[in-house]
Amino acid sequence: MNKEDKILKTLSPDFGQLRLTNTMLNKSIIDANTSIRRFAKLFGIDFNFMEKGQKHKLLAYYDDDNSICTISFYKTVNRGDRRLSISGIKKKAQINDLIAFNYKKIILDNDLDQTIIVINVTAKAQNRKVA
């Protein structure tokens, strides 16, 4: 098992993952694959019920420095393609990095809540510093 797989094994069962391509990173066009769509459902976002052009945003944070980011799940206006964007990802990753969305339960004001953590699995596996 490689180092990336070992890290993935430590994550919550329904984590989302994607491998960044040049288009994803530099054109900010990221298709929502099955694992991402399943992950989004955990937070009440179901692409099947989204209209073209509709967008849902979730707050998350990067695991390396706890900086806050926004994950936007949306359907494109024209074709209705299922996409997402992650704010600040260009500074946090490079082409071919594996990105995972993990979640953990926290208790906030006596309420159970879930928080999202964005992990650059490849950078972590390589002990590579990101911005």
Partner: protein, 69 residues
């Protein structure tokens, strides 16, 4: 080869048009789970590169022409 890159909006528009064109001619619905998605992306990127190179050549030709006049 030098190129004039499409901006993000133009690229997104091109991608939509490109997928629509392939689907119009019989390719099944294109998304990241398409069985040949990687190949589709490679072809898309090649066409974009060609467009970007052409744009550079056209601009340079016009520039040279206007300099010679």
């Amino acid at each position: 080869m030098s190129r004039i890159e499409l901006d993000d909006g133009a690229f997104a528009k091109f991608q939509d048009d490109f997928y629509d064109l392939l689907e119009k001619y019989g390719v099944s619905h294109i998304d990241c789970e398409h069985v040949n998605f990687n190949e589709i992306c490679e072809i898309r990127n090649k066409v974009v590169e060609f467009i970007e190179e052409e744009k550079y050549l056209i601009k340079n030709k016009q520039y040279r022409r206007s300099n010679n006049e």
